[in-house]
């Protein structure tokens, strides 16, 4: 293998695939990045066996070939190179990658490309096109609600439900639930439901960065892989096996109080309360005082036995019964962070029933948070 490319492109490509590199693997080759020539481009690949990313960058290929080199080392090295042309040549006998840029030269010991697992483009069962801005917004609104601990693997994933109505993403960690729906220009031939690891979607969100072309999504015929095709980038993810909880059943259908409040004001008040709440199990007490057209109030408070307490009051439109309910401040902040409208609507029933949060005029998005039980 003998190729040349620009340091800038190489560095960008490495940054994209780097997140799929295995951090703790018993298989040494998974800590490496696969470099291979693909027609007149250089293809970079990495996988941790759960997700895999391929990225193509422009290059001048003098001699075809492939090798793998340690990801961390390559990234550190390339990032410190001058923004110039980089020439790379594989010494096949020793699996050493010789790298030159200007007056700089390095030799990196690699592992034979034959040992690198293949990231296959699956045989497709379903194919849809999704607007990249819509997809990014949906991932932002939903993926954070997935569980981060592995005790219930199915909750570490995001349910993607394709039907005639469009695409619905749903995620829940047992304490909160996010559900967001969008129409699709072209509905899939048959309704399909898969669970995609939240981490894979977050990586997709990251690598789709500035892409403006639609993202193409494929589900493999064995229903065990999802494949996302972007410009110059592919992401393949294993799917989570299992049945997602019947979340529609737990979505509240009635409420006693509806509060409409400025998203920014509420977020500010909750962040303030969090300063005290963080050493008191994150408990923030929220009180809704009825009153129409901003003549109602929301009172947000937190108490730390050790450090003190705080209270803030904000104007709100509150219809229905007064209520006092406690939430985990972290969950409130996470939810309000993704409410990208000026106002948020909060529907509540009582202190031990879930609260429903919606962006006012912000599309088909619902976030549900279970309250905290306060013994007194």
């Amino acid at each position: 293998m003998k190729i040349s490319c620009l340091q800038e492109n190489l560095s960008k490509g490495i940054a994209i695939v780097n997140r799929a590199v295995a951090t703790r693997s018993t298989l040494p080759v998974l800590s490496n990045i696969l470099l291979s020539t693909d027609e007149s481009r250089l293809k970079l690949s990495a996988t941790n066996l759960e997700i895999g990313i391929n990225c193509w960058i422009g290059a001048k290929v003098e001699q075809e070939g492939a090798t793998t080199v340690p990801a961390r080392l390559l990234a550190d090295l390339v990032n410190s190179l001058p923004a110039e042309r980089v020439d790379m040549e594989l010494i096949t006998r020793t699996q050493t990658l010789n790298l030159k840029a200007g007056r700089f030269e390095a030799n990196i010991k690699g592992i034979d490309a034959q040992e690198f697992p293949l990231i296959l483009v699956p045989e497709e069962d379903m194919r849809v096109q999704i607007d990249p801005d819509v997809l990014r917004q949906m991932i932002d609104r939903v993926a954070f609600a997935a569980a981060s601990d592995e005790s219930r693997p199915v909750l570490t994933g995001v349910l993607a439900d394709f039907s005639d109505d469009g695409l619905t993403l749903a995620a829940a960690d047992g304490y909160r639930l996010s559900v967001c729906t969008t129409e699709l220009e072209q509905a899939p031939e048959q309704p399909t439901s898969v669970i995609i690891p939240a981490r894979a979607l977050q990586e997709l969100r990251r690598i789709s960065g500035e892409q403006e072309e639609p993202v193409e999504m494929l589900v493999s015929s064995g229903r065990n892989q999802a494949y996302f095709h972007l410009k110059d980038i592919d992401l393949v993810s294993q799917l989570v096996e299992g049945t997602f909880p019947a979340y529609r059943q737990i979505m509240p259908t009635t409420f006693n109080t509806e509060t409409i409040v400025s998203t920014a004001d509420l977020l500010k008040a909750v962040r303030m309360a969090f300063i005290f709440a963080r050493d008191a199990s994150n408990i923030v007490r929220v009180q809704m005082v009825p009153g129409g057209e901003n003549s109602g109030r929301m009172i947000i408070s937190a108490t730390s036995a050790e450090h003190g307490d705080n209270v803030s009051e904000i104007d709100a439109t509150v219809e229905g019964k007064p209520i006092e309910i406690a939430f985990n401040a972290r969950y409130l902040i996470d939810a309000l962070d993704v409410m990208d409208t000026a106002q948020v609507s909060i529907q509540t029933r009582d202190a031990s029933s879930p609260g429903t949060f919606k962006p006012v005029g912000g599309g088909d998005f619902v976030h549900i948070i279970m309250p905290m039980h306060i013994p007194r």
């Binding site: 047992g174 199990s281 730390s304 905290m372 013994p375």
Partner: protein, 407 residues
């Protein structure tokens, strides 16, 4: 000081509010002052005495005594149900006074605490003056009587405090610890419960001094390596356990010494369920939640093992405590191993706390409501008024559990 090096005099203080709940009731209703007053559950519900005024104690009424028995001893006693929020409010105020003296305060329960006042002389004067200051401030600012014990360590300070009750102040001079303890009944010593007490008395040990007169090796041979050595050292008035500031050290536990060693898993589980119920009820009564569950296992040869698990989130529910206790038993007890004692306890207690409800297991809300209803029934009719079906079939249940709260 048994070893070389500079002898730095430590001054540890134990403070304990006298007949705390009863004193608060007298404060809230001065008409009750000086009358035989008993705080606790109703006698017809088989309730127990949680606090008795000194006027009632004169008739022999004691804490933890069945209310029916208390009323037989003192028929004219005035019985009032507890008002725990009031007690907790006064308790906080008293603890605040202590924290103004020194930050080295370890709260042991709602009405007692240890203070390390070593080196406070320049600020507040000698230890005895500090004791008087605390007594005066608690009396003037909270209207409550408090007893103080001062000594070189926690063990002796606590016993000194008990010796002076009510409204006493007892200081044991440095070096006179053993002499101070010697004439006291052996059961006064930490670590001597009913069982060990009976055993020691059978060996002719009636006072702490009797045990102190043994040589150390004999204590170890008779009572086991750790237990024996520990008791013997304490009998000499030695104790180097530090005052651990912060209220996180609070804990609630229940333990039971079986009359016969038990290896029956079902029986152990049922015992743990009953203890979990009791521990959770006490948590709820105080409005606390616990972050850690622990179990205590003691073998027939007195080897004691304590194992704990931190919960994913704090709780005041018996089911969560029991589940954790059972996991601990699974991990640290092998089938067929006989136990002499079993205990369930909780640590990492938080007030002003709560726990996250779950979306999918909506059962927990029903359980919370159920346990609230149970609390109300027990408050009105006594602890034995209602129980789990699983606890009804009693096999060998020789000794009532010995509720221990504190360190």
């Amino acid at each position: 000081m048994t070893t070389g090096g500079p002898a730095v005099a430590c001054w540890i203080m134990h403070v304990d509010l006298d007949a705390f709940f009863a004193s608060v009731e007298e404060l809230l209703n001065p008409a009750l002052r000086g009358k035989p007053l008993v705080v606790g559950g109703r006698p017809e519900g088989r309730g127990v005495v949680s606090s008795a005024s000194y006027a009632a104690r004169a008739y022999g009424v004691r804490s933890a005594m069945p209310m029916a028995q208390a009323l037989r001893l003192c028929p004219q006693a005035i019985v009032v149900p507890g008002r725990h929020q009031e007690y907790s409010r006064h308790s906080h105020a008293v603890m605040d006074i202590l924290y103004e003296i020194t930050p080295a305060v370890q709260q042991i329960s709602i009405d007692e605490a240890f203070l390390d006042v070593t080196g406070c002389e320049r600020l507040w004067g000698p230890p005895e003056a500090i004791g008087r200051l605390i007594q005066r401030r608690v009396r003037e600012e909270q209207g409550l009587p408090i007893s103080v014990g001062i000594a070189a360590n926690r063990l002796v300070a606590k016993i000194a405090c008990d010796a002076g009750k009510p409204q006493g102040l007892v200081l044991v001079p440095q070096g006179e610890e053993a002499a101070f303890l010697a004439p006291r009944p052996i059961e006064t010593l930490w670590g001597v419960g009913q069982v060990t007490g009976r055993r020691l008395r059978a060996l002719g040990i009636a006072t702490i001094g009797d045990l102190a007169a043994w040589d150390e090796e004999r204590a170890v041979r008779t009572l086991g390596e750790r237990h024996g050595r520990g008791l013997w050292r304490r009998a000499q008035g030695l104790d180097d356990s530090p005052v651990q500031p912060g209220s996180e050290r609070r804990s609630i536990s229940q333990e039971q010494t079986f009359a016969h060693d038990v290896a029956d898993r079902l029986f152990l589980e049922r015992t743990m369920l009953r203890m979990s119920e009791a521990v959770a009820a006490r948590l709820r009564r105080r409005g606390w939640v616990a972050q850690t569950v622990r179990i205590k296992l003691r073998d027939p040869d007195f080897v004691t093992q304590t194992r704990q698990e931190t919960l994913a989130q704090p709780t005041d529910q018996p089911e969560a405590i029991y589940e954790a206790a059972r996991r601990l038993l699974d991990a640290h007890w092998t089938a067929g191993r006989p136990l002499r004692l079993l205990g369930v306890g909780v640590d990492g207690l938080l007030d002003e706390a709560g726990y996250q409800l779950t979306l999918f297991e909506r059962d927990d809300q029903r359980r919370i409501r159920l346990n609230q209803a149970l609390d109300e029934i027990r408050d009105r009719f006594g602890d034995e008024a209602i129980t789990r079906a699983a606890l009804l079939r009693r096999q060998h249940r020789p000794e009532e559990p010995d509720p221990t709260e504190g360190v």
